[in-house]
């Protein structure tokens, strides 16, 4: 046990040294000077810079030739991308949907802000591929029943949907403000989508010459997305949501959203899954066979923005699979250190079935980064000498003694036979 703990400590320590920040923070902000006055977003930008983002600004105007997201078409040039609303077909050509998809597939994070007035096709198509269907151009979210200040869309704390992304404990008194030019979106059913802010119950999106795009809580004002390689994308339907104007109301949410999108929080990391025999012998030195007693352990940490801290949960599951799961059970917290929480399966018995099994922990929770640790190992059958020997089975003693009586009596028989045989021969001779 001590050895194993030691190993975990070591891993945790090394991990802390090397991953003070989960990732580098070079950030590109793409904006249109005609639509966006950066000074109105100083608080938003200040938030990023204080969290040590290295920001590059890219205003889109007539002189802009191209937008380099990649160096020589190979590596990402930036880790994060902020897309503020831009206008014009040119952008669609420079910043194609495929380029954006590739950026995410490469692990880049995107915060996309769209406005109902200018909808860039490529960004919209990009979002469509993720399962976020923003309302078409010109379709503004309306909430006529909201009361006195008709222009602004306001949502209460109850509409904040994901605790891992935007934080905890909102009550309905909290109020967050979206501008009058807000677009809502529909969200597909993919499990990687994370609805963040729900549209008000009485709101709808009107589309010219067509049925409503969204009705009531069908629509969302902000949606997150996490790809399988844990790249994150989030979308907000209103640019002014980020602006200084509403910062006193929205500030907290904006900070949390950007932190989440740029992988500054809700990051989980596994410090390796291990499985050994119950007496800690490893698979390498003694391969598993059916019915062996095994212990499975996994250590998980969470990045809280500054440190790796133990991630505590009680719904972490372990599966032992051979096409279909043979076992599935919750892992128990075994030990909590400064950085890591070690979960254990306890001692369990391998099934009485040989085959190539997969030991897998697949932890996917909406808002947290995904963890999948899987290891394929063969579990062999009993060797011919691993069955109980016959003298260990009491029933077999009868048969065993039967055999030995036969053999011993045979020996006696042979001796007697030889003796009597000789005598007979002698007798015969005498008779003759």
């Amino acid at each position: 046990m001590f050895l194993l703990q030691g190993v975990f400590h070591l891993i945790a320590f090394v991990a802390v040294v090397f991953s003070m920040a989960p990732e580098g923070s070079s950030t590109l902000i793409v904006y249109d000077p005609k639509l966006t006055e950066l000074s109105e977003y100083s608080k938003f930008i200040e938030g990023l810079t204080t969290r040590s983002h290295d920001i590059t600004y890219l205003p889109i105007n007539n002189e802009t030739k191209n937008i380099d997201l990649f160096i020589h078409d190979n590596d990402k040039k930036y880790n994060h991308l902020v897309l503020l609303p831009v206008k014009g077909k040119k952008v669609t050509r420079m910043l194609t949907d495929k380029l954006l998809l590739r950026f995410v597939e490469d692990g880049g994070d995107i915060l996309a802000v769209t406005s109902p007035i200018t909808q860039t096709d490529s960004i919209r198509l990009f979002l469509n591929q993720l399962g976020i269907f923003t309302a078409p151009r010109g379709s503004i979210l309306k909430n006529p029943l909201q009361g006195e200040n008709d222009e602004l869309i306001k949502v209460g704390g109850k509409h904040i949907l994901n605790k891992y992304v935007l934080g905890y404990d909102f009550n309905d008194d909290d109020e967050f403000i979206f501008s009058k030019d807000t677009s809502a979106c529909l969200v597909g059913e993919g499990s990687q989508l994370i609805p963040l802010i729900n549209a008000p119950r009485t709101s709808f999106t009107q589309v010219k010459n067509a049925e409503h795009w969204t009705d009531s809580t069908q629509g969302f004002l902000s949606v997150g997305f996490q790809s399988l390689n844990n790249a994150r994308v989030s979308w907000i339907g209103s640019q002014e949501f980020l602006s200084d104007k509403f910062n006193n109301k929205n500030g907290y949410l904006v900070d949390e959203l950007t932190k989440w999108t740029f992988k500054e929080k809700s990051i989980l990391k596994s410090f390796g899954a291990k499985h050994t025999h119950a007496d800690l012998t490893t698979y390498e030195s003694l391969p598993y066979k059916v019915g062996d007693k095994i212990i499975y352990e996994i250590g998980i940490s969470e990045w809280n923005g500054e440190n790796w801290v133990p991630f505590k949960t009680d719904d972490l599951q372990f599966e032992l699979k051979l096409v279909d799961p043979y076992y599935r059970f919750n892992l128990k917290q075994k030990e909590i250190t400064n950085n890591v929480c070690v979960y254990t399966s306890g001692e369990f018995k391998l099934p009485d079935h040989h085959g190539v099994f997969t030991f897998v922990t697949d932890y996917k929770r909406s808002g947290l980064s995904f963890i999948k640790e899987s290891d394929v190992k063969a579990i062999r059958h009993l060797a011919n000498d691993e069955y109980p020997r016959s003298f260990e089975i009491s029933n077999a003693w009868v048969y065993l003694s039967g055999i030995f009586t036969v053999i011993s009596s045979w020996v006696i028989f042979v001796i007697l036979f030889l003796i009597t045989g000789k005598r007979n021969v002698n007798l015969e001779k005498k008779m003759n």
Partner: protein, 146 residues
């Protein structure tokens, strides 16, 4: 002696049958009685010859005693298996049982050669072959029960 055991097995069986046929049809009574008589005669003649053999050669008696012993051991194992209603160490049972059967047939083969030589094989050689075959049988049996 082994033959005797076998004979006595077949006789009651057939007498059962003959008695059952008796009850079925009275007209065939005579023939069934004849069959029964035949059995009786055959049995007596065989027994007589058998004892004569024994008196002539003591080794035959030895072989026969051994044969009975094999049958007894095999039967004991069978009864044990039936009593516990479980053939779990099946290999153990098989090796225990088959070694008896194997030894039995080897003994009978030896006996047949003792009574009358096979062409080209002397009695001594037959015995030698018997010993080798038995040893192989024992080895396999022990290996099988492991």
């Amino acid at each position: 002696m082994a033959q005797k055991v076998k004979n006595s097995k077949t006789i009651p069986k057939s007498s059962n049958i003959s008695s059952s046929t008796k009850s079925v049809s009275h007209t065939t009574n005579k023939t069934t009685h004849g069959i029964f008589q035949d059995f009786q005669d055959a049995f007596n003649a065989t027994i007589q010859h058998y004892w004569k053999q024994h008196e002539q050669d003591k080794r035959l008696r030895l072989i026969d005693i051994m044969c009975i012993f094999m049958v007894v051991v095999a039967a004991l194992q069978c009864i044990f298996m039936i009593l516990i209603r479980d053939n779990f160490p099946f290999n153990a049972f098989l090796s225990g049982f088959i070694i008896c059967v194997g030894q039995f047939v080897l003994l009978v083969s030896l006996r047949l050669q003792m009574v009358s030589d096979f062409e080209g094989i002397s009695k001594n050689r037959a015995f030698g072959e018997f010993v080798i075959a038995s040893l192989i049988l024992h080895f396999i049996s022990l290996h099988f029960i492991n």
